[in-house]
């Protein structure tokens, strides 16, 4: 899942993934979060994009959690889903990332 972070500042990799886990935990609890098998694959600080991996069954849960993020590390922020794909290669192709 490729994501675009929309915020005034630039959150660090750690701050971003904490915000994502926090949002999932708030909406679905520890048990729900454990089902997602969430993992941060790539984080491009300069263009504020990230690639995360999640299990197919919980894509909607993760999408809802990402949409519920309103701040990252105290900065107002929004996370938009750019694209979803089955493999990292297909995702890069979809977004024309080299």
């Amino acid at each position: 899942m490729a994501l675009q972070i929309d915020s005034d500042g630039t959150p660090s990799r750690k701050e971003f993934i904490y915000a994502v886990w926090d949002a999932i935990g708030k909406l679905y609890g520890e048990y729900g979060a454990s089902l997602t098998s969430l993992m941060l694959i790539d984080y491009y600080m300069e263009r504020k994009t990230a690639v995360i991996r999640t299990s197919l069954a919980t894509v909607n849960m993760v999408k809802a959690s990402l949409a519920s993020i309103t701040s990252i590390a105290g900065m107002d922020a929004a996370v938009h889903v750019l694209a979803i794909s089955g493999t990292a290669k297909a995702l890069e192709k979809k977004l024309n990332w080299s």
Binding site: D6, L27, K63, A64, A67, S68, T70, A77, A78, V81
Partner: protein, 246 residues
């Protein structure tokens, strides 16, 4: 994408509740361009009853420049049923979408059965004033009103909500559900598919959630534009050509 009659139709997304500041044109333009960037093709903004036509034309023009469609909307907050009737009579032909904020049961019931009302909205966190029960749903199912869920309170407020139960009642009685943002800040705008994912939180399946941010909103605006057109007589009856009196 959706397939209808062998043809693949792309969903056209709409947000029927974007709060635009009429005093700050720069902020308005920013909100419009942001909604366009996020993938919406139709937005509606609540306006004041005394808004003149020039302001609506100006907003429509700004939206057209961003390649999105604009629908005028008014949010009514009547305290009595009489007040609601008076406001509907006065404003129905001036605005494309009429939403009624139901603050008491009498107003909620009247709004649900009145075919001039497009959207029913209820206070988000105050359970005692959320009157969308089975009786309300039954009335709404016989008229044209849809149930509106704003996502803003879900993003900015903390507290329990009872939306799942209401969504289930609405679906049982085939009352259309609309999901809109209701935000005035760009940062709180979400992509339509993200809004649909949020709508799944209160029990809508994926297709219904996507319909709530696309087809249903478009259908309301299309129906009202037809009604406001000069050739409309009654549902299904239009003036095609006027003859000369001999």
């Amino acid at each position: 994408m959706q397939k209808r009659g062998g043809v693949t139709l792309k969903r056209v997304f709409a947000d029927l509740h974007v709060c635009l500041s009429m005093n700050d044109s720069a902020a308005t333009l920013r909100m419009i361009s942001k909604t366009a960037k996020l993938g919406y093709r139709l937005i509606a903004a609540p306006l004041a009853p005394e808004t003149n036509k020039e302001e609506v034309v100006k907003l429509r023009k700004a939206c057209n420049e961003a390649k999105i469609d604009f629908a005028s909307r008014i949010d009514l907050q009547p305290r009595t049923t009489n007040e609601l009737m008076v406001q509907l009579r006065r404003l129905r032909r001036k605005f494309e979408i009429i939403s009624v904020a139901c603050d008491n049961k009498q107003v909620a019931r009247q709004a649900a059965k009145d075919r001039r009302v497009d959207l029913l909205s209820f206070p988000f966190l105050d359970f005692r004033r959320r009157f969308f029960d089975r009786a309300e749903a039954e009335l709404a199912s016989n008229s044209l009103a849809a149930l509106e869920f704003d996502m803003k309170p879900l993003l900015v407020l903390h507290g329990p909500a009872r939306l799942r139960q209401e969504a289930a009642i609405a679906m049982k009685f085939h009352v259309p559900i609309i999901v809109s943002s209701g935000v005035a800040i760009e940062m709180l705008l979400r992509k339509p598919r993200d809004m649909a994912a949020l709508a799944c939180l209160f029990g809508l399946d994926e297709n219904s959630a996507l319909d709530a941010v696309s087809h249903i909103a478009h259908a309301i605006v299309k129906r009202n534009r037809e009604k406001l057109g000069s050739g409309f007589v009654a549902p299904g009856i239009h003036i095609i050509r006027e003859g000369k009196n001999r």
